[in-house]
Symmetry: C2
Subunit: 334 residues, 2 copies
């Protein structure tokens, strides 16, 4: 098998230069890169990342644990994490916990065993004591984790406020607030508080609250619960859906009942997943800046790997994306 020395000889360069090209360090001209690349190909040279990681005691891999991959929100998070990791020359080791604590704990061990540079935890029920002493930073993504070294989240309270203001602005008076509810407290729970606090300042507005079980992350089927909510509160004229997936299914179910969006009922979702723009009408939603949040997670891990101190909590603002589900004009123009 060819060695680094062979590649250097073939390329007519020093071993140090070839090493700099492989590790992407310092300035390297395009011509030099080309020569190294050609020599590597010629000799079928494969740099051994594992051997290099072993000597550095940590690899260029970042672990990611999500509760679901096919859920459009987590698919978007993964996509942004992969892109940010690629920019920093890191790779993602992907794990799906299906929300099971035992799977999460197992995956944390596998990450440790693979000497990851850090772990982004988007699925967080891992208990106290399970995350310490692993020697790599754990960044919680939209999760409360006392055990995590850092947390990156969006301003969920503000998101709830924006949703309430949008529905009230559009003239809704009988509001419905649908939240997720789980055993573990989540930053997303605060959306509801922001929503209700704004409603309290508007005595002309009524609110009815409903809670979805958290078991739908994988199957994504909220229909049975949504049907029940709409049966119990059939004349709501404005609904904060808690997530875009709930919002999209709500529109579908309202359509079956002959209730028009936005003429009869207005809806605000949360997340701004790609599908929010594919429905008719398009879904008004609270946009999480997932790209920036993902980039921040990777940046924190890269900083920690470089021995720098890292922020323990980073919060990003959210914004309202007004579309056809709350705005009749938007719905007709499109």
């Amino acid at each position: 098998m060819a060695t680094l020395k062979d590649v250097a000889r073939e390329a007519g360069l020093s071993v140090g230069t070839v090493s700099r090209v492989l590790n992407n360090r310092g300035y390297i001209s395009e011509e030099t890169r080309q020569r190294v690349s050609a020599a590597m190909e010629q000799l079928h040279y494969q740099p051994n990342a594992m051997a290099r990681s072993l000597s550095k005691r940590s690899s260029s891999m970042i672990g990611v644990i999500v509760p679901s991959i096919s859920h459009p929100y987590f698919a978007k998070v993964l996509s942004c994490l992969e892109s940010a990791a690629h920019e920093e020359n890191y790779q993602l080791l992907l794990f799906c916990s299906q929300g099971k604590v035992s799977r999460e704990e197992e995956y944390v061990r596998v990450c440790s065993s693979n000497r990851v540079a850090g772990l982004v935890l988007c699925s967080g029920s891992v208990k106290t004591g399970k995350l310490r002493n692993f020697g790599f930073p754990v960044v919680a993504f939209e999760r409360h984790l006392n055990e995590a070294d850092a947390g990156v989240e969006c301003n969920n309270y503000e998101g709830g406020e924006l949703a309430a203001r949008e529905l009230i602005r559009a003239g809704c008076r009988k509001l419905m607030c649908i939240s997720g509810i789980g055993e573990v407290s989540m930053p997303a729970d605060v959306r509801r508080e922001g929503f209700l606090d704004v409603c309290r300042t508007h005595p002309e507005v009524e609110v009815q609250e409903f809670f979805c079980s958290p078991e739908h992350l994988e199957d994504l089927n909220y229909f049975p619960e949504l049907k029940r909510f709409l049966d119990e509160d059939p004349d709501a004229d404005g609904i904060f859906a808690g997530s875009d997936m709930i919002g999209i299914q709500l529109m579908s179910e309202l359509g079956r009942r002959g209730r028009r969006v936005p003429q009869d009922v207005r809806i605000v979702g949360y997340d701004d997943v790609n599908l929010a723009q594919m429905t008719n009408p398009q879904l008004t939603t609270i946009r999480q800046p997932v790209e920036e949040m993902a980039r921040e997670c990777i940046r924190i891990i890269v900083k920690a790997a470089g021995g720098q101190s890292i922020p323990s909590r980073t919060m990003f603002p959210v914004s309202l994306e007004r579309r056809g589900s709350t705005e009749l004009a938007d719905c007709i123009i499109k």
Copy 2:
């Protein structure tokens, strides 16, 4: 740092037994597992997967390259691959090429450098010669790759036939066939052939063909093209959408034009992504058995790692999922 010996002493077991537990080899009682696990936790023992991989010359990682992560089809593929890999005690190293050949080639090198046990390529424009001599098997997923060691695909021709028969059965006479078209030939191209071959046997049926550019895998915005198709062929009464994402956006655009699905236009999608059941009406589609296809990819890599011979091409059947977009009764009952 604790060693394997320390763990064995703490657990009161032999080093061989502890090693068998860690490598999941042979029969191990639940009690033994518990003792090893408790001792590992007690001593904060971290088995070093990298060192083990180095001695085995290949790791327990499987590389996956997809062109997009947030596309619901690829999110589903990834989800099924992760689940199948977990069953076999393998981990996924995730890469997104964004359809760029240079990224794919870079990722293949990174996989090689990390001594992956194999690579599942769901994004395939890598050119001849780039995949050989890496020493790990490459499995193409729904891609033609002369360079791959194995290919796993679904019966796309049959899928096209099923779609045509479904629309004709439902009484459609002015059909539209929307296909993707790219520089690289894909198994999915054959869907169109199956569709057209069935139409040819029905002289009472007309077909108009349209092609979507392949650039929408990331942004998923097919609307501008779909608007053009519907402007050019405004009275089609049955549409084969080529993919569910196209089908869902088509329903949305038809809604804006006041054309009812399925009363005025019937639609058949392809893939059966989770969203196909969230629209109103739900989308009739050709179901790819993605779970089975993903499991087969992982099985092939595990077989190859064990020195067994592997099938070069595996094709899975598809099935029609009849829903409200082609069946008025289904649409009303739901």
